[in-house]
């Protein structure tokens, strides 16, 4: 794996070797700027990142360092000012809105900080939602939802609306929703930020197990030391620049 970072004052190249051979995420000279003229803010500068399949990666950095921006660009939720994002060798930067929607639906799972479930749908319906968009058969939907409800420990709570669930339970539903379409990448923005430490740790253990069992690629943005402890790889951002990339043994 090669990580190249550029800042206005310095260039730093970190060369690392990984065992995996299949690149899932690759960004090239990725930049995102907001505003213009005197108010121009560079949220992300020339980020070149490659992430292999099955990695459990944490993106860390202080507030405003560009973590969320990077995840948004990787997830196709925002358009880069320049540069490209390749997911499984496909350049998503040039996809149309509909192509991108379908790509996200079929290949990326999202877990958000504030749970962000659809309040008018039950837990089961929230998990089922993406499969309905995909046109998965009713029997297959039921099978997958039952399996995931069991996996995240929410059996018997399927008919509850999000407002009737605790924060931890809601985030478990969000994890199940992210995984139900069998995506190859799961992007998570501070998934434990709104959870107490025990619930957060349980959730992380659950995701770690899924990562190991299913070989799904997890990318987190986080401040949470517990995630950093569990991550096999930590990418550090400062002022929109990748300044460090550490892979644990």
């Amino acid at each position: 794996m090669t990580i190249t970072t550029q800042t206005d004052t310095a260039h730093k190249v970190i060369n690392m070797t990984t065992k995996s051979e299949e690149t899932v995420i690759e960004t090239k000279q990725l930049c995102r700027e907001f505003g213009q003229g005197d108010t121009l803010v560079k949220a992300l500068s020339d980020a070149n990142i490659t992430i292999e399949r099955g990695e459990f990666t944490a993106i860390i950095g202080p507030s405003g360092s560009g973590k969320s921006t990077l995840l948004q660009l990787i997830g196709g939720l925002d358009n880069p000012s320049s540069g490209d994002v390749f997911l499984d060798k496909k350049n998503i930067s040039h996809m149309t809105g509909t192509e991108l929607s379908d790509f996200r639906r079929d290949h990326i799972g999202f877990i958000f900080q504030a749970y962000n479930l659809i309040p008018v749908l039950s837990a089961r319906e929230n998990i089922e939602y993406i499969m309905l968009l995909q046109g998965v058969s009713a029997s297959e939907r039921k099978k997958r939802v039952d399996m995931l409800m069991h996996a995240v420990g929410l059996e018997g709570l399927g008919d509850r609306r999000p407002a009737e669930l605790s924060g931890g339970q809601q985030q478990r539903v969000a994890v199940a929703r992210a995984m139900v379409s069998k995506p190859s990448i799961i992007l998570a923005d501070e998934p434990t930020a709104n959870l107490d430490s025990k619930t957060g740790a349980d959730l992380l253990d659950m995701m770690k197990d899924l990562n190991e069992q299913q070989n799904m690629t997890f990318v987190f943005s986080t401040h949470d030391p517990k995630i950093m402890e569990r991550a096999r790889r930590i990418i550090r951002l400062v002022d929109g620049c990748v300044v460090d990339d550490e892979r644990k043994a």
């Binding site: 969320s68 079929d106 958000f112 046109g135 190859s184 992007l187």
Partner: protein, 425 residues
């Protein structure tokens, strides 16, 4: 679970219906997320629909009432005159061959009844006073089948084909200071030369059409005596009562052509009182104007409501877009929410409107003594419910609701997921 980017298991033939069902479910549940706001919006649209339908029913009722008052009181739905009579108001221009005309009228299916009349300006003199009046000589029996003269009698007796009978409007009687049985001299100019002709009458009855100009300016005598007084053997006017009012509007009906020739001029009530038909035509625009104003208000109210709802759900829409909902599907969801609100509003509006209009059609709205275009509304206006209008306005309301939702739906569909979710992912 798979770990590669292989397509999910799909059943394409089920995809459309499953997605439609999902969008429909989301839309239905979303409109009741803020029940109070939805109900207020429904109330706004329903009340607008009620106002539109009430206005329409009221205008229809008013038109019906005014036409009824105008035609049934005395005018008739049509009138036959000798050509030139109406333009010159010349008593010498009268219909001479009345027998042939009556026979022709008897054979016309569309004509339910007719009433021959002579009419002339006259000076009426009592022992106390003198007044000018329009004196009509009428066939008592036939007149009762066409006009409301017999029904308008307030005192005394209706005409009975006996010479010397005269019916006076109440206000004319007051002016002349006469009562039932009092003597009255009527002076007219004879036809063919204009010699003065006088006859003595006894007031046999008083009438009131509840119409000032008629009650102070009209007197009725028997047709035969009127003909003698004017020295004519025909009639000036034949008022027609048709089977249906609509036949007066349909000038393509053969009898209109048959009764218009070199000698006779036959006109419908619209032609006899064009100012009334013009006024009624303009009145019908009021429904259109009220509809436009109401629908503009509905649009603004609904756009406001939908935007409030959308702004509250920005994050949610961001999530939906992020997890693979297409912009088009989000657009349909918002449109469907608008459709459901419209459907609910129309249902409530139609029920309320029917209740109000039905009540108005039974009880009527009293506008007595109000004068419009020279016509006194001497009976209540009964609302007229038109089922077709209810149907079309219901459709129009739903269409307007959908139009009002277009802008908010486009706004939601064009949201950038990252912007919509702001500081979440």
């Amino acid at each position: 679970m798979t770990n590669s980017m292989q397509p999910p298991i799909k059943l394409h033939n089920q995809q459309g219906s499953a997605q439609s069902s999902l969008i429909s479910r989301l839309a239905k549940r979303s409109i009741f997320r803020n029940t109070r706001r939805t109900l207020l919006t429904v109330l706004l649209i329903s009340c607008s629909l009620v106002a539109i339908l009430f206005t329409d029913a009221f205008v229809r009722g008013m038109v019906t009432t005014m036409v009824k008052i105008s035609t049934q009181t005395f005018l008739g739905e049509g009138q036959i005159h000798q050509v030139g009579f109406r333009a010159a108001n010349d008593i010498d221009l009268y219909i001479k061959d009345t027998d042939a005309l009556y026979q022709q009228l008897n054979n016309i299916e569309e004509i339910q009844a007719y009433a021959p009349r002579i009419l002339t300006g006259a000076m009426t003199s009592s022992s106390e006073n003198v007044a000018s009046a329009m004196v009509y000589g009428v066939d008592a029996l036939k007149e009762a089948q066409v006009s409301k003269l017999k029904l308008a009698m307030t005192q005394g007796d209706y005409l009975s084909n006996v010479d010397g009978e005269i019916l006076l409007g109440e206000q004319l009687a007051d002016l002349l200071e006469v009562n039932l049985g009092d003597r009255l001299v009527v002076t007219v100019s004879e036809a063919h030369g204009g010699e003065l002709s006088q006859a003595l009458f006894r007031v046999s009855g008083l009438f009131s059409f509840n119409e000032r100009t008629m009650d102070i300016g009209m007197a009725f005598i028997n047709l035969s005596q009127g003909q003698k007084l004017l020295n004519i053997k025909g009639v000036h006017e034949v008022a027609l009562r048709l089977q249906h009012l609509t036949q007066a509007e349909d000038k393509q009906l053969p009898f209109w052509q048959a009764l218009n020739n070199e000698q006779l001029e036959t006109l419908s009530w619209q032609e006899l009182v064009p100012q009334l038909s013009s006024m009624l035509a303009m009145t019908q625009y009021s429904t259109l104007i009220v509809s436009l104003i109401m629908y503009i208000l509905v649009c603004l109210g609904l756009i406001n409501t939908m935007f409030m709802s959308i702004f509250e759900r920005h994050t949610e829409f961001g999530i939906l877009l992020a997890i693979g909902t297409r912009a088009k599907q989000l657009f349909y969801q918002i449109m469907l929410e608008g459709f459901f609100i419209g459907l609910l509003s129309v249902t409530v509006g139609l029920i309320l409107a029917w209740g109000v209009c039905y009540w108005g059609s039974i009880v009527g709205i009293d506008y007595s003594e109000l004068e419009m275009s020279g016509l006194t509304l001497n009976e209540p206006i009964y609302l007229v419910i038109d089922a077709a209008t209810f149907f079309y306005m219901a459709i129009a309301t739903i269409v307007v609701t959908l139009i009002a939702c277009l802008y908010p739906a486009f706004h939601a569909a064009r949201l950038q997921p990252s912007f919509a979710m702001r500081k979440t992912l």
